[in-house]
Every structure is written in structure tokens, then in C-alpha cells.
């Protein structure tokens, strides 16, 4: 039982940032804009969030600080993503261009600023956010240790974002319009929906979520931020595709990947796995191979948004 709790708790640390960022990607792509800049936006979000913590940790601490930092990350991610939105929506450029540019720009910019301001590239933060046990909820049998012990508030933020995303996409006016813009922008335009505005909104939501995801990635993983999110932005992109651009499948994909990654690093807690004659390095490959195999059997019908990647031109027919 203890092992199970541990596996679930650890899985959260992998799955939640992937989930948040992939959901961000979903908003952008379902509005019709491919966003390969997730990695770069995560770096930016992480930078501003951690930077904020670094500056204010003397004045405040605990969950309020973390929540405020999340807001800062989200806002900075959204602002940074405007560059992508402008190039892909207004300039109608190939959407890999600005995506690639942002991915390259973010870490360079972060290193540059960090060094200029504090001389050191790493930005230190003090972790006052870890929750050993959520009061009351943490004591519930089974559920308590599964979900409410050894965790960060970011887990609930992530789950909340997932639920909210599902609702926004399928139950709200905005969601309906967003989907229309990603599938058939001319149709949306013909009923008076401003495709550009909706796409801006989609990209900015993806920026905000990727920014938040950047911070959520770093907090449980390290004690400082070193201008990188270790390729998790690209993995989130993979989770998005794996999840067929649909909220519930993205949740499943993120947790699948999270569990696989947890086993790959923490297989030694499971006696059976530890005794298998399989090396560390092979365990590390397993999540990727497993994903590949599942994809090979499950991708016959792609549900990619039809107008994804195609700039919308009001005049074109």
C-alpha cells in the first residue's frame, strides 16, 4: 500500500506540469495555432515565477507566495506568447518559425538577465510550499495518502485547471467558438466571430498555462532555477498529440506518461521490478518506447483540429 501511495505521489510531480502545459497547448491548437513554443514559454514562466519568489521570499512565504508566483508565471507566459500570436495570426507566418524563435530566445534571455542582475545564472528559492499532509483531507483513509499527503498545492491547481479546461472547451460559449476557429475559421467568421481575437485568446491561454507549468515543473524538482525545463515543453507537445487534442485524453496521456516516468526512476521501490535484470538506462527508455507502441496502435484516426497551422486570411476562399 505504501508503495502505491508513493508511486501516486511521485506521479503527480511528473504528470501535473505535463498536464498543465499540454492543456495550454490544446487551447492554442484548437483555436488553430500550432504552438511548439511551449518549451520556451515554460522557461520564461519559470524564470519570472522563481524570480518573484527569490525577491519576495523575505517578505512572505508558504502557499500565498507560491500562488502569487503562479500568477506572475502565468502572466509572463501569456505576455511572452503574444510574440507567437502576433507572428502567426497577424503576420500569417509559418507557425514553426516564431515557435522555434521563442524556444531559442527564452533560455538565452533568461541567462542573460539573470547574469546581468545577480551575476549568477541560477536563481535560488526557498521551498516553503511543501505540504506533508493536508489538514483533515490528508487523514482520510486511502484517499488521504494518495492525494493529500506529500504534495504541493500545484497538484490541485493542475487538477483544477484540467477540470476547468474540460468545462471551458465543451460547455461555454468561448469554448464552442474556439473549437470552430480551429476547425473551420471561415465558418466562424461568417457568423460574426472574430477569428483573430479568439486565436489570440487561445495562444495567450496556452502561454499562461505553459508559464504556470514552468513554475510547477521547477518547484518540486529543484532548489533553484537554471534556465531550463529539461525538454518538458516538447514532452507536453507529445502529450497533447498523444491525447488527441481532447481534455480527457490529455489527462490520461499525462498520467500515463507520469506513471511511466515514475517507474523509470523509482522502479527500485517495487521489489519485482528491482529484481528484474534490466538496467537503469533501459528503464529510462521505457516511457518513450511504451508511448511509441501505444501510438502505433491508436492513431488510425487523428483528431487534430482541421485548420491547425493554417493562418486565417479573411480574404481567402
Amino acid at each position: 500500500m505504501g508503495i502505491l501511495y508513493f508511486i501516486v505521489q511521485q506521479t503527480m510531480f511528473f504528470a501535473i506540469p505535463l498536464l498543465i502545459v499540454a492543456l495550454g497547448g490544446m487551447f492554442s491548437e484548437r483555436s488553430g495555432v500550432v504552438n511548439i513554443a511551449l518549451e520556451g514559454i515554460m522557461v520564461m514562466g519559470g524564470f519570472f515565477g522563481i524570480g518573484f519568489m527569490h525577491i519576495f521570499e523575505g517578505k512572505m512565504s508558504g502557499q500565498p507566495l507560491l500562488l502569487l508566483a503562479l500568477v506572475i508565471s502565468g502572466v509572463s507566459g501569456a505576455i511572452f506568447s503574444l510574440l507567437h500570436a502576433f507572428a502567426s495570426i497577424n503576420l500569417k507566418a509559418d507557425q514553426t518559425i516564431s515557435g522555434t524563435a521563442l524556444n531559442m530566445f527564452a533560455p538565452a534571455f533568461v541567462v542573460f538577465v539573470a547574469r546581468m542582475v545577480q551575476g549568477v545564472q541560477q536563481i535560488q528559492f526557498k521551498d516553503t510550499f511543501h505540504i506533508n499532509k493536508v489538514p483533515v483531507l490528508g487523514s482520510i483513509p486511502v484517499i488521504g495518502p494518495l492525494l493529500f499527503q506529500n504534495c504541493y498545492i500545484t497538484t490541485y491547481v493542475g487538477l483544477g485547471i484540467a477540470i476547468l479546461s474540460g468545462i471551458v472547451i465543451s460547455k461555454t460559449r468561448f469554448g464552442l467558438r474556439l473549437r470552430a476557429c480551429g476547425e473551420h475559421p471561415q465558418a466562424a467568421d461568417s457568423v460574426g466571430i472574430n477569428v483573430y481575437k479568439i486565436r489570440y485568446a487561445g495562444v495567450m491561454i496556452s502561454g499562461a498555462l505553459a508559464g504556470i507549468g514552468g513554475l510547477v515543473f521547477i518547484v518540486p524538482t529543484s532548489t533553484n532555477f537554471n534556465a531550463t525545463v529539461a525538454g518538458y515543453g516538447f514532452l507536453a507537445l507529445a502529450v497533447l498529440i498523444f491525447g488527441q487534442w481532447r481534455t480527457n485524453k490529455i489527462i490520461a496521456a499525462a498520467f500515463f506518461f507520469g506513471i511511466m516516468k515514475t517507474f523509470a526512476s523509482a522502479y527500485s521501490v517495487v521489489p519485482v521490478l528491482r529484481d528484474l535484470p534490466i538496467s537503469n538506462e533501459i528503464y529510462k527508455m521505457i516511457p518513450y518506447i511504451a508511448t511509441l507502441i501505444i501510438l502505433a496502435f491508436s492513431s488510425k484516426h487523428s483528431q487534430a483540429p482541421k485548420a491547425e497551422g493554417i493562418p486565417y486570411d479573411k480574404g481567402s476562399r
Binding site: 511521485q10 516516468k261 526512476s265 537503469n280
Partner: protein
């Protein structure tokens, strides 16, 4: 051609002194001599200067000496990890006025060998390595000085202290199996063994989980691995791999367990750092620079700094031991200095297939049970 036309308008009055015009002349762009000169240079290996570990330790030495003695100093970052890139960086440093170049890491062995011959007037300090030709044997020129550290002794101190402190469930998480890391691990296991023996513990009563994670980074994977060890009962992990430590500390914070830092004093990184297994990078670099400016540069030599020369230590002032006292520390330290204890450090041992052993499972241990996580 660029700066020449509008160099006056380019200086928008922010510069503090009159020498602004000096640097903005066209010749300044053409010749490096126009830029400031830096006498003391350090080339980073592929990590950064602030890696809280190896590069940083060396850099702190450079900084400390240069500041105290008002020398100009600077570090350079190579474009990539290759001999030629290191050579390019060294030459850039020399172009920038370097008289002495500090090169942290065995990666510099071949580049320094090339450059010591090419620039006999420049001095080279190489840490953790000795200049040699590609595939050849050690060849330390008169303008080079090579420093090794007895990491096994630092590891020994940490292993000894931690078992004395009362911990018996230990972990060793190395970054990559490079010699220095291996030596730390060997020493750690032997230190634990020695303490267990002193304490009269039963055979195999100290558990030691042992692995190399494959990188020097803070990643969720490393955090998860450390967390899984703590979850299985491990009480202390010796995090021996640069930023890997940051992930281990994170896991320790969550689990309420302890971490042993490496290379430099990492106590400020996290409250979970009980002590750090240090090699005295800072001091050794400082001393080398002092010798250079005191005209006693120990060129042509390769030394191994160990306990006898205070090359290794535990920072007892910042350590958070409750039982293990300063006196205990002094006692064991002296035993090492007096060679009363022999610490094996054979990192080149090979098994029957000719593969490097590179872990502690081959050591003759009685009280410590090593569990290799492959």
C-alpha cells in the same frame, strides 16, 4: 567598419570616464588589445561558473585571490565540449591578457598539453587532471601545475561522520561515473565501514544504496529516484553530482530526510544538508595563484591534495551534526593524515570482462552492505 561612423552618438553620456572614446575607436573593434585586460583567467568546462560545485569552487578561489590582491580576472565559456573548443577558449583568454589560466577538470588534459607548449610564458593550473598528449602519458611542462584531490578521503570523512552520527541507511547518488565521483563513492563506503566497525555494529548492518544517475542536472527523474530511496527507508543520501544535489535536497525536504553535499559547502542550499564532503578547490586555486604572484609557481608538478595538505574537509562549522563532534572530526582527520588508515581509491580496477568496476561493490566490506542500483 561598423562602430566608426557614429561612435559619438553611440555614447549617450552614460559612461563615467573619458576613456569611453578610447574604447570606441575603430581600432578597438579590430584588436582585442582595445578591450580590458584580464590577468587571471578561468575556463569553465561545460558546466557554468555557478554550478554550486566544481567550476564554482575553482572560481571562488580565483575571485578571492584576485579581489584581495586587486588583479583583473575573468572566466570564459567554451562553445562546446571538445579539445579544440577548449583550446580556442584558452587562446581567447590569452588574447584577453591572461597570464595564468585555471582549467578545472580532466577535460582539459589534452588542451593544456597543447597550449603549455605553444605559450610557454603563460601559466596553467589544471584541476583533477594532468596534461598529456591524446593517448599519451602525463607530461607536465614547467609552466603547468596539475592538482588532484583525494576525493576518497573527503568521501571517507563523510561516510565516517554520518555513521557515527547514528545513521545506518545510506545512499550514494553519483552524477556520472567519472574518476572524482567514483573516488568519493569509494571513500564514502569505506568511511561508513570504518565507523561501523568502531561502533561495533553487526555485519551488514549498514545499508548503502549506490548508483550513478547519468547526468549532472536537477530533473524530476533524479528527484523521483531520491524520493524512492527515502521512501524505502534511506536516511541520508550523499548527492555527488553537481545539480543532482538540488533534486536530492528537494526529495529530502519532502521526506524529512538528510543530504550530504559535495565539492563545496552546500549547507546554504537547503536545511537538509547535514554536511558536505568537500575538496578544497577554493583554497588550492587561491594558493596556486598566490604562488604564481609570489614567483614560486610550482610548475612541472602534479600533486594530489589530501588531508595532509588540507585538501579535503567537512565544514564542521556549518554541519548539522548532533552527536558527531569537532573532536571526533579532528581525531579521524589526524588518523588519515598520519596514514593510520588506508583508503583504497583504485578507480581503474577492472572486472573479469575487462569492464571498469566503477562502483563500491568490489570493495572488501564487512559491515556495509552495498546494493548496486544499475
Amino acid at each position: 567598419a561598423c562602430g566608426s561612423k557614429n561612435n559619438n552618438s553611440g555614447n549617450n553620456g552614460n559612461s563615467t570616464t573619458g576613456n569611453a572614446t578610447d574604447t570606441a575607436t575603430p581600432t578597438a573593434t579590430a584588436e582585442a588589445s582595445g578591450s580590458d585586460q584580464y590577468e587571471v583567467a578561468l575556463i569553465t568546462d561545460i558546466g557554468t561558473i555557478d554550478d554550486k560545485s566544481f567550476n564554482q569552487g575553482a572560481w571562488e578561489g580565483v575571485e578571492a585571490y584576485a579581489k584581495e590582491n586587486s588583479k583583473t580576472y575573468k572566466y570564459y565559456k567554451p562553445t562546446e565540449k571538445s579539445d579544440e573548443a577548449y583550446i580556442t577558449s584558452i587562446e581567447l583568454a590569452i588574447k584577453g591578457g591572461a597570464k595564468i589560466v585555471v582549467c578545472p577538470g580532466y577535460m582539459f588534459e589534452v588542451p593544456v598539453h597543447t597550449e603549455q607548449a605553444k605559450y610557454p610564458d603563460v601559466k596553467f593550473v589544471i584541476l583533477d587532471g594532468v596534461p598529456h598528449e591524446d593517448g599519451g602519458t602525463a607530461d607536465v611542462a614547467a609552466n603547468s601545475y596539475s592538482i588532484f584531490y583525494a576525493e576518497q578521503e573527503a568521501g571517507f570523512l563523510a561516510g565516517y561522520a554520518i555513521v557515527k552520527e547514528g545513521y545506518t541507511k545510506l545512499g550514494f547518488m553519483g552524477g556520472i561515473a567519472v574518476p572524482a565521483v567514483i573516488r568519493y563513492g569509494y571513500g564514502f563506503a569505506q568511511g561508513a565501514e570504518y565507523a561501523a566497525k568502531e561502533l561495533g555494529l553487526a555485519d551488514g548492518s549498514v545499508d548503502l544504496k549506490y548508483t550513478y544517475v547519468g547526468n549532472f542536472d536537477a530533473t524530476p527523474d533524479n528527484q523521483a529516484k531520491a524520493a524512492s530511496w527515502y521512501n524505502e527507508g534511506t536516511e541520508v543520501i550523499f548527492a555527488c553530482g553537481g545539480a543532482v544535489g538540488n533534486s536530492v535536497m528537494k526529495a529530502a525536504e519532502a521526506a524529512g530526510k538528510k543530504v550530504i553535499g559535495v565539492d563545496v559547502d552546500q549547507s546554504s542550499e537547503s536545511d537538509t544538508v547535514i554536511t558536505s564532503s568537500m575538496k578544497n578547490l577554493k583554497k588550492s586555486v587561491y594558493d596556486a595563484l598566490a604562488a604564481f604572484y609570489g614567483n614560486t609557481f610550482p610548475g612541472g608538478k602534479s600533486v594530489t591534495l589530501d588531508a595532509t595538505s588540507e585538501g579535503v574537509e567537512l565544514p564542521m562549522d556549518t554541519s548539522k551534526f548532533t552527536k558527531f563532534t569537532k573532536d571526533d572530526y579532528t581525531a579521524i582527520y589526524n588518523k588519515i593524515v598520519s596514514k593510520e588508515i588506508t583508503i583504497l581509491n583504485d578507480t581503474t580496477a577492472v572486472d573479469k570482462d575487462g569492464k571498469a568496476v566503477a562502483d563500491a561493490s568490489g570493495l572488501p566490506l564487512q559491515f556495509v552492505k552495498v546494493e548496486m542500483i544499475k
